[in-house]
């Protein structure tokens, strides 16, 4: 496909700048694509009916000679976890069905400021709890590579939208892998920035100490371009880092140029290359290591012994924080209200929460409430925080020896819809590769690593030290460049089903 919708954001922005394509045309093309494929994908919960008007405005400003941002006029999809003024923001929950926030998340405001065009809001597991989008209150999103399979989660909507060419780029949020794991199973790129690198203001909180907003795209450069727009200090987020960040787009361009990795030290995390990683994924990972070595990279094995406690610690910290963050959904000020005459406020709160939350959300609220209870706090939340410190130390030690850590981004290719829905533990373990970076606050990226024997995408994860997001873009772009050489362009465009999606899918 060589139409507008198959262009990367970087390619599209060049055509916009040269006026070869207008933003209105680009936006219209994507809206038409959405219209055509949504019946089979279900990536969007809301499509922005003001997108075309916004695009026209950008075209007018460009025609008037105004100096615009590089990405001005490029359409983008926004995960429904982010508040958008004038557009519903549900976080995938019945609880917030129809709720229209009076304010924009900082990242959304920055997109608007740069002139990007919001196409709409993407589907997700309810309140970002899940790895498959099957926990969305509004039905699952399907994987564009196989409509019987999950697109990953919680940000399956954003990943599927980008993979299905409904949007060139998207925003996601990553608490335990919700950007990187969907990227891995849909053949797209996803980045979880350093904690504090991107504002969380307006991101409906799941677990505040783990959540991070980041880019979703089909190329490393596109992710970098988005990161450059949304990143940087925000006075509305007290955990936002006050530091100057380098241009990630420049790093990606430099990395791709020549794709030379001579002298760069890569560490393969022993604990993430073992049990539970499918043969398909292991095979592609070996190929990726070979490609890195061929580019001059030095690959050694690194042990991070505390990683084996990561999933357990994560499933204490996350529910604990979530149980508190989700307490505000009580029907008093906004959101779903279920009441009968004569009921007390407590009864109305309880009935509304009973009706408004899905089973996974309830499961985690109960888990977290228990973990924080007097007498259990030290054993659960306290111990989990100690594990967190150990993981940070493991990573600090590892980064004394290597520049970047690599691992598979997800242990398997996309599993089937319904396969793990009744087995929460199997679902939780699926995030084993991505969780350590959230616990440590360090940045991580998933890039396409090729297809498994089942014809489904696999993902390569890169992890860098705190604040060193630049390394991900530089080295990620180099590896991407070498790998893409093998399959002629972004992996997402190699999906043979792309054409058929508009016919309701090739089931």
């Amino acid at each position: 496909m060589t139409s507008i919708i198959s262009l990367s954001a970087a390619e599209l922005s060049e055509k916009l700048a040269s006026r070869e394509v207008s933003s209105e045309e680009a936006t219209k093309a994507h809206l038409e694509r959405i219209e055509a494929v949504e019946g089979s994908i279900n990536a969007f919960l809301h499509v922005n009916d003001e997108a075309l008007a916004a695009a026209k405005q950008i075209d007018e400003r460009r025609a008037a000679g105004e100096q615009l941002h590089e990405l001005a006029g490029v359409p983008i999809a926004i995960k429904d976890v982010l508040t958008t003024k004038g557009m519903p923001s549900t976080s995938g929950s019945r609880m917030l069905e129809g709720w229209v926030p009076p304010y924009d998340a900082t990242v959304v405001a920055r997109l608007k400021q740069a002139g990007l065009i919001a196409l709409g809001k993407t589907n997700m597991d309810e309140f970002a709890m899940g790895s498959s989008t099957e926990h969305s209150a509004f039905g699952p999103t399907k994987n564009p590579w196989d409509l019987n399979r999950i697109p990953g989660g919680s940000g399956g909507g954003s990943a599927a939208a980008v993979a299905a060419l409904e949007a060139p780029i998207a925003l996601g949020s990553d608490t335990g892998g919700s950007i990187r794991q969907p990227a891995a199973v849909t053949g797209t790129v996803g980045v979880k920035p350093t904690y504090g690198g991107v504002s969380r203001y307006g991101a409906i909180a799941l677990a505040s100490s783990l959540d991070q907003v980041g880019p979703v795209s089909r190329t490393v450069l596109d992710a970098a371009l988005v990161h450059d727009v949304i990143g940087g200090h925000d006075p509305h987020d007290a955990t936002s880092l006050e530091r100057e960040w380098p241009s990630f787009a420049a790093a990606a361009r430099e990395g791709a140029d020549g794709a030379d990795l001579t002298g760069v030290r890569f560490g393969v995390v022993k604990e993430l290359d073992a049990d539970g990683i499918s043969a398909d994924v292991q095979a592609r990972f070996k190929d990726a290591v070979a490609v890195i070595e061929a580019a001059g990279g030095e690959v050694t094995e690194i042990s991070a012994p505390s990683f084996k406690y990561a999933v357990a610690a994560y499933y204490l910290i996350l529910p604990a924080e979530a149980s508190s963050n989700l307490a505000r959904f009580d029907s008093v000020r906004y959101g779903l209200r279920v009441e009968e005459p004569g009921q007390t406020v407590e009864q109305v709160m309880a009935a509304s929460r009973e009706a408004g939350f899905g089973p996974e959300v309830k499961r985690r609220i109960i888990l977290g409430t228990y973990a924080l209870s007097a007498g259990y706090y030290d054993a659960y939340y306290g111990s989990a925080q100690k594990v967190r410190t150990l993981i940070q130390r493991d990573l600090e030690e590892a980064f004394q020896k290597v520049d970047v850590l690599i691992s598979p981004a997800a242990p398997t290719t996309a599993f089937k819809l319904g396969e793990k829905i009744d087995d929460p533990l199997a679902m939780y373990v699926n995030d084993i590769t991505t969780i350590p970076a959230n616990l440590a606050g360090t940045p991580g990226m998933s890039i396409p690593m090729g297809l498994g024997a089942d014809g489904l995408p696999t993902g390569l994860q890169l992890m860098a030290p705190m604040f060193e997001d630049e390394r991900l873009y530089r080295f990620g772009a180099a590896i991407e460049s070498r790998l893409n050489g093998g399959w002629a362009g972004p992996l997402a465009l190699q999906n043979s089903r792309l054409e058929a999606l508009s016919d309701g899918g090739a089931r």
Binding site: Y103, A105, S208, E321, R328, Y334
Partner: protein, 503 residues
């Protein structure tokens, strides 16, 4: 149901009261503790209409985030220092989780195991001049909740109400909660401890300028913990926590009431329930609130939306250097400087007039005359009108008034009239003197004529004076003053009467 009360003195013969206070101070910063909303505890915004001082955070909207208010943190550090506390090198916010419709996030951001200030002590002064050290356990920062108004039902309480309304203006108002350690040994002075302690905290925060400290507006709120133990015992009894104590007098009365109530229950062989009690100013009683157990589980955990507070030591020292004098020390110094007796100073202090008198003296009045006017005529008028004396006129005007008296322009009676004019807003004392033509007549010619006329009218009195019965002059002086409509210096009139009579 009316509680049975034991006689107070008898109760104190049988039991030793054990006290503890939690005082909440609303800071008067321009914005709230964690949001950019205007703060209704700042006088500029205190009369805002309900639900107009709100941001997404104050409504607990999804995605909103707290950002600590630096000015409020500075105020809290200053207060901690004024309470003699250590200031933590690193302190943390924590979430206190509980569901209530006035709590927008269903958790309150407070501080738990790492408060900003801890281990202090504050000196209070009892009415007989005894100084008592009250140990301070901690002072921590937190946010206030919104305000519920219960409609329908008779009590204004949530029980029996038809519906309730919430005003989120107060949600997020910066608070510092000051917690004392357990206070033993107060004995019969327990009620006075409460009053003096709350008054001292009020004076400290006013001195720092960090709170309006108006108890009637809830800027300063006291929860009083009290338990009794049998005389001679060292084992604490079960405590109650009395809330809604909104004046100094309430603090005193509520403690007194709880001692009497608990003593009667214990003497009857009953047990005290650990519970919250509400003080009712109108009936002078406390009533049971909700049971409170030590096992209340708020599931505290460190607030993940904010980093620890690590105030620079330089800032702490800078704030320490700016601390005003401690209230008790200041009062002792002023009493000395002004040469007042204990009783005279107590008069001023109890009327809340120390600052006002100090300003009046600074504006030129003598301590004696400043005290006289503020505790006399002005307090009388204030009492009649049910307002604070300091709101009637300015210190500068009182100083000017005393100057006019000292110069002989006004006598006491004229001065009271001039003051009435100032209170009515007719201008400064001099302006009122001009407008109302109040000045003492100092023209001897007019006085001599009036005296001669009075003497001529009372020849018998003239004879008595000439016979050496000088006290008889009073009748003539009275007649002259009457003729001059009071606008004469009585001393001068007397001199003239005696001089003219001996001619």
């Amino acid at each position: 149901m009316k509680d049975k009360l034991m006689d107070f003195d008898k109760a104190l013969e049988l039991f030793d009261p054990v006290l503890g206070f939690e005082v909440h101070v609303e800071l008067n910063t321009r914005t709230k503790m964690f949001s950019a909303s205007p703060n209704p505890a700042n006088p500029e915004f205190e009369d805002a209409a309900p639900n107009t001082l709100i941001t997404p955070l104050d409504l607990g909207l999804p995605g909103s985030m707290p950002v600590p208010n630096r000015a409020a943190v500075r105020s809290a550090i200053s207060l901690g220092l004024a309470l003699g506390c250590e200031i933590a090198e690193s302190s943390r916010f924590a979430r206190k989780n509980y569901y209530y419709p006035d709590l927008p996030k269903n958790y309150q951001i407070s501080q738990f195991d790492e408060p900003i200030a801890f281990d202090g002590s504050v000196q209070i002064e009892l009415s007989d001049g005894r100084l008592i050290d009250i140990p301070i356990e901690r002072a921590h920062i937190e946010e206030d909740a919104g305000k519920l108004t219960h409609v329908g039902g008779s009590t204004g309480r949530i029980q029996g109400a038809e519906y309730s309304m919430v005003d989120y203006n107060r949600a997020g108002v910066p608070l510092v909660e000051i917690v004392t350690r357990t206070i033993v040994g107060a004995g019969v002075d327990a009620p006075e401890y409460a009053k003096a302690y709350v008054a001292t905290i009020r004076d400290i925060v006013r001195g720092l300028g960090i709170s309006e400290a108006k108890m009637e507006r809830g800027n300063l709120r006291c929860d009083a913990n009290i338990s009794l133990m049998p005389k001679g015992s060292t084992t604490f009894g079960t405590r109650t926590e009395t809330k809604n104590v909104n004046s100094l007098r309430s603090a005193e009365r509520a403690i007194r009431y709880e001692i009497q109530r608990q003593a009667q229950i214990l003497a009857d062989g009953g047990t005290i329930k650990q519970e919250t009690r509400h003080w009712h100013e109108d009936t002078g009683r406390t009533s049971a609130g909700r049971p409170k157990s030590d096992a209340d589980d708020y599931r505290y955990f460190p607030e993940p939306d904010m980093l620890p507070l690590t105030p620079a030591r330089e800032l702490v020292e800078e704030l320490r250097a700016q601390l005003p004098e401690q209230p008790v020390a200041r009062r002792r110094r002023l009493k000395e400087e002004w040469g007042f007796t204990d009783l005279e100073f107590q008069d001023i202090a109890n009327g809340g007039l120390v600052d006002t008198v100090e300003q009046t003296i600074a504006a030129g009045a003598t301590p004696a005359s400043a005290r006289k006017w503020w505790t006399g005529e002005l307090s009388r008028v204030a009492n009649e009108r049910g307002v604070d004396a300091s709101t009637l006129v300015s210190a500068e005007h009182v100083a000017e008034l005393t100057k006019l008296i000292d110069e002989g322009t006004l006598n006491d009676r004229l001065a009271r009239e001039a003051l009435a004019g100032v209170i009515e807003g007719e201008g400064s004392p001099s302006e009122v003197v001009d407008k109302r033509e109040l000045a003492v007549v100092s023209d001897d010619g007019a006085l001599i004529a009036a005296v001669d006329e009075a003497l001529a009218a009372q020849p018998d009195v003239l004879q008595k004076i000439r016979d050496g019965k000088v006290q008889a002059a009073g009748a003539v002086i009275g007649a002259v003053m009457k003729a001059m409509r009071g606008q004469a210096d009585a001393g001068r009139v007397r001199e003239i009467v005696l001089a003219r009579a001996s001619n």
